[in-house]
């Protein structure tokens, strides 16, 4: 009688899934890695973009006619806010610089553990935590 143990069904299942995944991916990659696939995929994308573009124009016209802000208007406002934010930040940095210049001892690097650790090759300590 054979002493060989049969495999755990879970392990068999996992191996089957892995095999299937590998085979399917290889097949799909060989089909999708062609110039023809690339051309078709990009043609489809172009059509989608054309539809989206037309819809956007339609919406923009309608919003303009209804005297409502369009997406571009909202983006412009957001950009203005962003540039204000940048200016504020610059002013803040300048102010911080002025404060630290007036008191050179007030540049406190963040507290925390001492930065004195040596590599395990020098200390003989265990490399991994």
């Amino acid at each position: 009688m054979s002493e060989k143990r049969s495999k755990d069904p879970g392990e068999v299942f996992r191996e089957l899934v892995t095999e299937w995944e590998r085979g399917f991916d290889q097949l799909a990659n060989s089909l999708m890695g062609t110039e023809n696939f690339s051309r078709s995929m990009n043609q489809m994308q172009d059509v989608q973009m054309a539809v989206r573009g037309a819809f956007r124009e339609f919406m923009t016209d309608n919003l303009t006619n209804a005297n409502m802000p369009t997406r571009d208007d909202v983006v412009q406002i957001a950009q203005s806010l962003k540039s204000l934010e940048k200016r504020m930040e610059r002013i803040e940095t300048l102010l911080q610089g002025m404060t630290s210049n007036s008191d050179p001892e007030a540049i406190p690097p963040r507290g925390g553990p001492p930065r004195t650790k040596r590599p395990p090759s020098e200390t003989g300590a265990e490399a991994n935590p």
Binding site: D25, Q43, Q45, R115, P129
Partner: protein
């Protein structure tokens, strides 16, 4: 009855018992799995020390009594959230580095707003990264730092390093970083300049939605999602496996949109003209020639990386001007290189060993 027959019967009994137990657990836990909220991720305590638009800079709380002098800044790819560095306690690269004695900072990205559609490679490499580098130096009081970049984060870090040769960079680690974009496999085929109209895409959308980015990744391994679901169903009894699966799944689902101009530049300058590889890429009025990089460089690449094939990362070491440079080729894929059991066992200890020697 012989002893061996008796033993075989006992073995069979034990296995049937285990199978029944797992089947019951699978059903009970399967229900929990379906109704469970998002997996908690990124739990290692941290402060956001800087944020601007899409950019976030985290500083993690120390987990050792003594740290190396040189702080570490991790730079995430622009397409994904940085919590892949900090998936869960015990499965977190950040936690591992902290416990190994590093002072860790991470650059993360939020989805860019429509107002940020004009962000370019120059913004990332000449503004965001330098601003974070300054913050790290300011926070630690140290004059230098190490940078670890993952995927496109590695590419941005490399461009930063090549254009800031007199900067505070002490060590550069690139994890599966694309350099030769003509070796980018399917991405190269699908974005063939004869068929792919990047201008139309960017001009129409402004921001490239996350689903287009995700589609680009998933189409390279179309069976991966279904195979993942089958595996998790079979392993539903195994809490650790399910926890890890859910964290990875969340990460995959939270792919980020991309600023349109960045996408346009990546496509034209890198994928089509391969300018980083040729040493012709310009950022901030400077040429990002990799030969300018003279700091110690570690390149970690994965043998079975389908997104950034080995051939695409390989030229990094050939092109940098550093004397101290090393490449580590590890078994694994694009994501398993940095997170999960494979990373814990293989990559993190090698990274720790290399970096600790150069962080004093």
């Amino acid at each position: 009855m012989s002893n061996s027959n008796q033993q075989a019967k006992e073995d069979l009994g034990t296995r049937v018992q285990a199978m029944v137990k797992r089947a019951i657990q699978r059903n009970v836990k399967g229900l929990e799995f379906i109704s469970a909220p998002k997996a908690p991720v990124g739990l290692t305590p941290k402060d956001i020390i800087y944020k601007r638009g899409t950019l976030r800079l985290y500083h993690y709380h120390p987990l050792s009594h003594e740290v190396y002098r040189v702080p570490v800044l991790l730079v995430m790819a622009t397409t994904n959230k940085a919590f892949v560095f900090d998936l869960a306690p015990g499965q977190s690269m950040v936690e591992y580095l902290l416990k190994s004695g590093f002072d860790v900072f991470v650059i993360d990205w939020e989805p860019p707003t429509i107002g940020e559609r004009g962000l370019t490679l120059e913004d990332y490499t000449q503004d965001f990264i330098p601003a974070c580098v300054d913050k790290v130096n300011q926070t630690t009081g140290e004059p230098d730092l190490s940078i670890i970049g993952y995927c496109a984060g590695g590419m941005l870090s490399t461009i930063y390093a090549a254009t800031h040769t007199d900067g505070p960079l002490k060590n550069l680690v690139c994890l599966t970083t694309p350099i030769n974009f003509h070796a980018m496999g399917l991405t190269q085929v699908w974005q063939d300049k004869r068929y792919f109209d990047v201008d139309r895409l960017v001009d129409t959308l402004g921001i490239i939605p996350a689903d287009i980015v995700t589609q680009g990744f998933e189409m390279q391994r179309p069976a991966q999602r279904i195979a993942g679901q089958l595996r998790v169903w079979e392993q539903m009894w195994n809490d650790e496996f399910v926890k890890s699966f859910r964290a990875f799944e969340r990460w995959g689902n939270e792919t980020l949109p991309l600023p349109g101009e960045y996408m346009r530049e990546m496509t034209k300058e890198l994928l089509w003209d391969n300018k980083l590889y040729k040493g012709e890429l310009r950022a901030g009025g400077k040429v990002a020639n990799l030969a300018n990089i003279e700091v110690p460089v570690l390149s970690v690449v994965a043998e079975h990386d389908h997104l950034v094939p080995f051939e695409a990362s390989k030229p990094l070491l050939e092109l940098v001007g550093s004397d101290d440079k090393e490449e580590i080729l590890l078994n694994g894929g694009h994501v398993s290189l940095i997170a999960g059991p494979n990373a814990i066992r293989r990559m993190w200890p090698r990274l720790n060993a290399w970096l600790s020697e150069r962080s004093v």
